[in-house]
């Protein structure tokens, strides 16, 4: 089951979104949250801190979510790191590509806290 103390990295270039996700995670009992505003910054965080779970948006400058996913999955260290991709409504191509690149799960915007909780549960149930 998901450990409430696990360190979650939230990646999105829009501060309001990060705030929203952080808020939802807090409601679910996850208070150990770190933020990054694009894929490159996220990698920096991964290098310096021990992250247990990533929630990432797709569209970001410098490095998109899908590229971040690919990089993470290609690395020795993080290839099994639980990764949740946030995609936009109607972008099924994005979902398929993420899944092909071994994302653990995805969630479509706009999402309710309940949906996010379900997704997180699902990811950690199989572990």
């Amino acid at each position: 089951m998901a450990d409430p103390n696990m360190k979650i990295l939230v990646v999105d270039d829009f501060q309001t979104m990060r705030r929203i996700v952080r808020g939802v995670l807090k409601e679910l009992g996850f208070t150990n949250v770190v933020e990054a505003d694009n894929g490159v910054a996220a990698l920096e965080v991964l290098r310096t801190e021990k992250i247990d779970f990533i929630v990432s948006d797709w569209n970001m400058p410098e490095m998109t979510g899908i590229d971040l996913l690919k990089t993470v999955r290609a690395s020795e260290e993080w290839k099994d790191l639980p990764f949740l991709m946030v995609t936009a409504e109607g972008k099924s191509a994005q979902v398929l590509e993420a899944v092909k690149n071994r994302v653990n799960n995805y969630v479509v915007k706009p999402f309710t806290p309940a949906t996010l909780e379900e997704k997180i549960k699902k990811i950690f149930e199989s572990k």
């Binding site: 829009f14 569209n59 899944v99 071994r102 706009p110």
Partner: protein, 710 residues
Amino acid sequence: MADDISKLTEEVDKLALELMVVEPTDLMGLGSLLQQLELIEGISVACNLAPIGALAAACRKVVEKAILNELEDIEKGFDLVGKGIELIQKHLTNPSQPQPLDAGNSFWKEMETLEGISIPEGLEKTPEVAPPLKEGLDLTESGEVYSDFISEATEHLEAIELNIISLEQAPHDKEHINSVFRAFHTIKGVSGFLNLQKINKFSHAVESLLDEARNEKLSITREIIDFILEAVDLLKNMISDLKGPGRPDPSRFDIEPYTAKIRHLQQCEACDSVPSTEGATPTDTPHASSQAADRNTNTVRIPPPASDSLPEASREQKKGDPGSATVKVDTQKLDNLIDMVGELVIAQSLVQQNPVFSAINNQKLCRDISQLKRITSELQKASMSLRMIPVRQTFQKMVRVVRDLCNKSGKKADLMIAGEDTEIDRSMVDALYDPLVHMMRNAVDHGIETPEKRRERGKSETGRIDLRAYQKGSHIVIEIEDDGQGLDRTKILKKAREKGLISGENGLSDHQIDNLIFEAGFSTADKVTDVSGRGVGMDVVKQAFEKLKGKVEIFSTEGAGCRFVMLVPLTLAIVDGVQVKVGEEQYIIPSVFIRETLRPRENDIVKIHDREEVLKVRNTLLPIVRLHDLFGVTPRKHDPWEALIVVTECNGQQKGLMIDDLVGKQEVVIKNLGETLEGVKGLSGATILGDGRVGLILDVHGIFEIAHAA
């Protein structure tokens, strides 16, 4: 061929195995299946094994649906994929048989039924897309989150404005197009999350238009730029609706005409990918018009030769200042801090000026006190600077204002901005916006002539408006200068006489005539233009600056142009003044109004009509104001030639204030008079002087008004 078949067989067998192991709810497993199916599909198509390709494609679609959670019965879907794989394997043992086998028919029938079921019927299944909530969100933090969205979206919209105007000069600059695209994209994203449906829908539509521009399916024309600016305005309105009192009412906004326009714009453009000739002088006009004959969109006009005259201000805003790390601080906390520092300054001053200290002859103590004073001063300056922000943002907003004004009035003018890094107190920034807009309007409407007229006069067709800011002593100076036709003094005099503002033409200097435009109710516009309104402008502008404890001056040269010079104090919390004594009272006169101080000679004083006193100074007559009469104080000196006269200037007029003594120059912390005394004319505040007593700060404007009204 045989190789391909064996390769294919190998992959299909792998797939069959995987299918047995993968759980239908295992997303990663499904992803793996998907990749495998794509591989098989690819190979079979490449080898011309159409039936196998078709089967693989069908299975792939089922797996995709499973991933997207669009399958009602996922077990059934899996079964079907299994059947499909079996059929493929059968085909592979008999590759030369083109027609599907009998078992295949039932497969395809079931596939048909499955394909038809795309959206889960019952909503008991947790849908991927959240059920449509009523507009707005119910998260407990929604109030705060809205305000975050509002401020960030507003920033984005401002960035869009700047970037889009830059696009006018450089329509193929991908950086700009991308910035604008990203801005709309982010607004769309978050508004979607907050379920602000209308904003989301609208920004989505504009974003798609920009996406086409990004992909060079659409070239940026004047029409598009104008449209995007209109879209920005609509979004601004929708966003401020969120702020407003009461519930937001999105039904007020009709986005239909906009979305229709977008469709129109998208159709009109020929899909012509424009070769990037950036850097070269953009002469795009002929190219675009060589397209479909019935196009009547305005293409980008050839920009004026000095295309780098586009002020730095409106070039692309670099995304996030590379060097600045900033913090967000609650303004209330900031104000508290500054108040306390103000008190500290006063307290320190009280201590320092305590007469007991001058008695003590202790070197070290004196040095320490001096040090204390120095540190307190530094602290005060530092805390003041916390409230300061550069005028850049406000100035840059003027770029669009001028552009829109020029469009509406058919005139051409470039806005040149300088000194946008100059900082002013944040409370003044908002107050500045309206007066500046007013003056821009005047400059374009009354100042800059039409292109034809300018040509006639030998001027360049495009006028020039300079907007400058710089610091001068304890004030910030803002100048607006245009190279238009200047003030028409005959017209002004005529109007002033009509309105009864002056009697006769009693030798008014040019300067004084110019200042008449600041009188209330004055307007020389022959007809009310939509742009300039009813000419209520200049007196309102003057009042606005007076409210900020500043002033406005005007300098005009007929035919050559007009220059407005506005002063605002660096801060509203401190005033630089001269401390004076009248009787037992101490007053502070703000330095900005003081011209000079003099001791008059008896024969230079002339009494007019037995009540007004006038002093002959050089070649002019200076009215004297007896402050003690005004304030009901008993003075020590009763005759002007025994006292001192402080020559003050305000609105082009000069008057001499009569005082007993000059104490000295002081920077004083302004304290408000409080509600009861606030309306008193002639006083604008108070301060605590070094000896602990209260000194009143004079409001020179007010004094000028009441002095000779009696």
